[in-house]
């Protein structure tokens, strides 16, 4: 095998772990998380290489690509929705880590980007000043929501971090379309209010 394909071992690993998790093996989930985490980070980097700067990246696009690479396409639908549930959790974690890292950097504790000739290293991304804090606030609010209401928090995670449609979410969770839609409305309203209140 030449470079480019995901390692076959990793792929069958993921399929096996997904299966185990579906059968109720909690440990399988914990072992899936780092695989998915690495893959997401790796993909983000590969994407950058490919498109050399001018690309847009959405969390959900990444998650979908990670799925195709890691699990292949020969996995049953139940498995894939389980995968997205993990990937959503992991994606959230990746972004939380990134937000913290960026904050630390801004506080001056970390490595600071300096102005460099853009033709040398590419433009140093400025980033929206408040995004880190906002995102961390969202993460915290979501954690609080999960304590109050695990189901609605999960709906939010699946929708925003894995890009599952309402249809997919309802199938995955086994609720009606209408329920998921209502859950999402409440969660979104509540989270928006929490974020504004914090600000």
């Amino acid at each position: 095998m030449l470079p480019g394909d995901p390692p076959a071992a990793a792929r069958s690993d993921v399929t096996g772990l997904l299966h185990a998790w579906q059968q109720g093996d909690r440990a399988a989930f914990d072992r899936l998380v780092p695989l998915v985490y690495d893959e997401l980070r790796g993909l983000a980097r590969a994407q950058l290489r490919r498109d050399a700067g001018q690309w847009t990246l959405q969390a959900t696009a990444l998650v979908h690509e990670a799925y195709v690479r890691l699990a292949g396409t020969d996995v049953s639908w139940e498995n894939s929705s389980h995968f997205f549930a993990i990937a959503a959790r992991v994606m959230r974690q990746v972004l939380v880590d990134e937000a913290r890292r960026r904050q630390a950097e801004k506080r001056g504790g970390g490595v600071r980007p300096v102005d460099l000739a853009p033709d040398l290293l590419g433009a140093v991304s400025a980033g929206e000043p408040e995004t880190e804090a906002d995102f961390l606030a969202l993460d915290q609010a979501l954690t609080r929501l999960a304590e109050l209401d695990a189901r609605r928090a999960e709906v939010v995670e699946l929708r925003y971090f894995a890009g599952m449609t309402i249809e997919e979410t309802s199938r995955h969770l086994g609720f009606s379309h209408a329920t998921v839609e209502r859950d999402l409305k409440l969660a979104r309203a509540w989270l928006s209010r929490q974020l504004r209140r914090g600000a």
Binding site: D38, E98, R100, T131, V156, R182, R193
Partner: protein, 868 residues
Amino acid sequence: MDSGRWRRLAEEFDRALASPAEAQRLVADLSAEDPDLGGELAALLAEAAEPGPEDPLATLVDRAAGWLEGAPAGRIGPYRLLGEIGRGGLGTVYLATREDEGFPLQVALKMVDRRFASRRDRERLIEERRILATLDHPNIARVFDAGTGEDGTPYFVLELIQGEPIDRHCDRLGLTVAERLELFLGVCEAVAYAHRRLVIHRDVKPSNILVSAQGVPKLLDFGIAKVLEVGRVGLTQPGERLLTPDFASPEQVAGETLTTATDLYSLGALLFVLLAGRPPLAVEGLRAAEVERRICEQIPPRVSDAAGGEGVAAARRTSPARLRRRLRGDLDTIVAKALRKEPHRRYASVEQLADDVRRHLAGRPIEARRDAALYRAGRFVARHRAAVAAAGLVLLALVAGLVSTSVQMRRAQLEQARTEQVAGFLVGLFEAVDPGVARGAEPTAREILDQGARDLLAGRGGGGGPEVQATLATTIGRVYRQLGHYAEAERLLTRALELRHKAGGDPAGVARALVDLAQLHDDRRDYETAARELRQALDLQTRALPADAPDRAATLYRLASVELGRDNAREAERLLAESLAIRRRAFGERSLPVAEVRHARAQLFYQTDRLAEAEAELAAVLALRRALLGEDHPASLTVLNDLASVKYGRGDSAGALALLERTVALRRKVLGDHHPHVATALLNLATVARQSGDLGRARRCLEEALAIYRGTFGEEHARVAEALSLLARVESARGDLAKAELLGRQALALQRRLLGPEDVEIARTLLQLSAVVRDRGRRNEAESLLREGLRLQEKALGDRDPALAFALLPLGRLLAEAGRFSEAEPLLRRAVALREAALPAGHRRIAEARSELELCLRAAGRKASAPP
């Protein structure tokens, strides 16, 4: 808000959505009952009723995802990045300069892209850095510095080589074939040097060899290099393989086990390019499967046939016809031999390839004749069967000496040095036997051993009877054991035992053969078999020898140590007592054999927590050895060190400190400042100093110990990992978390390589590292470290061991602090239960676990329902 009120809120919200007409009334009703909740409902309904043009949450998440894009920061550690030099699959190399101290030099700095680096990438970079640090050769780019950015990104700093790839260099300057060969020899030296350090480069190709302005070729990019494990000749390839098709060996493409022969193939391909101006096989643009097939099956053309064009010849300052003539013959043969599909049919080493190139340059006949070495080895042994048998006896005497040095060396884990010594000794022996052996084709030690083993196992043990054959089998078996080839060792030692029986079954001889086998099994930690064999030996000795025979006492002593190894302390104690009684009668109380057994007994006491007895026994042994050997004898010093451990274990830090200081001072005097035994004593001194709060001293001791270990063993050594891990603890106690983390990670990576990824020893490092990572604010990472540590502990200790609490408690605390109470609670409950089951009631560790649980429950907003 609690979950009860939330449920209520959610119900009313859903109801209001279902029938908007009633929303107003629902809000009013709820407000009457719970004004706050009513207000909240009204606000949420308002929020849901006026969706903005875009979903603000989706926007926020997408903006955050955009972070994963970005450019590397312009500074890391004390270095400023001036520009990108190159980008490989595994990292980016920057032109950099140091910011402080007016450091004028420009250097190359390699790091992974910090935003996207996966753990795997980081580990690889650290691996490369570690490999390079062990290599110091004029043809390999030097490492100046290494470090970790404030965000944990590892990097290292290399000598900046301003040059161009070797093929371009040769063509630009129009170097002749001879000049190209000279340059190629420099590359061979670098690769051969790496191989001697057990490093396989795996990616030798023109773009990784820069020729400096001074004309010196420098091998770069050890990004996918690997260190062979000591005692193994090959390495299996990990799932993900990176390779360059023009230069990759068949075994590399096929994903098979790699040996140093893979670099030989790549060198052959490089030589092909330098001579013929094109790679040996045309694989560019082909599909992966076809590339693989060609590399594995298609025989490359002769290099003389491949070198055709005018341009190619001109760049070698010759004509096409002359170039072909120049390459025909020697160089065709040399290149073809390096490019063989089967690794074992290539040159046996890079040196041999280089020797042939040199011979060719000097106009001497080359040695590239197939399988000459083995062929000659076979013939050599056939011609000199009697000499081999005789040599076996010489061997025995020498090996006896070797065994005792190798015990010390094994303690130092210098397997490689030992292998080379043994190999060198054997080769030297046979060279002495046959002065006519041609240079470059002498059989290797291993070949002679294997040949001898084959003969012996087939019953052709030279002219001698079974007695001589048994001696030979024992000898070769021992050498195999020393080399770590346990399967072969077992076959031969078993054969020796059979031969002893055949020779008439002299009980003393049979017993000795059994003891040899037992030692092998002891080495392999097969204590059960070792114990059985020693007991058989003991039976024989009991029947055949006088009760006071020293051999019997020795077997008893050995059996005791095996029994202690399998946690059979009571039996070990009985055996030691018997051995001690015999030795007392045979040698007298004030004798070294008696001191040896008593030392073992002290270890037994120590291991079974009878510290007072251990201390008394050690004091007695120390007095004996001081009187018989002197205080500064290594054997006395070992006791001094052990005594300090026991005192420390008994809480006598001051006493331990004094003894350790004395140990360090004496070892310095006897062994010099740079001996690993000095480092070991420093390590102990540091541990005690740290516990008694003297962090500065602990740190100084550890840094010195680390320097000694690195100087002696190189980077790749369990002792280095141990020192790093201890230093990490001290730095963490001093509050330098960044440094603590770096050290902890180094220790971890080392341990994983040395012990395998699942060793329980690693759990300890993980737990320690997790505390540092947590204190640095990376809680998710701390969590996964703790979980991994817990998993390793469970795997090694089972799920009942109270030691699991050391992972469960911090994990529970971490989760509780993150508000994940429902996950934290079962972990903490489990920690409490484990400790309650294993420790006496009222133990402070139980109280500690309980209070952790209580804190969690209280924080979760529930009354502590733990039993009081």
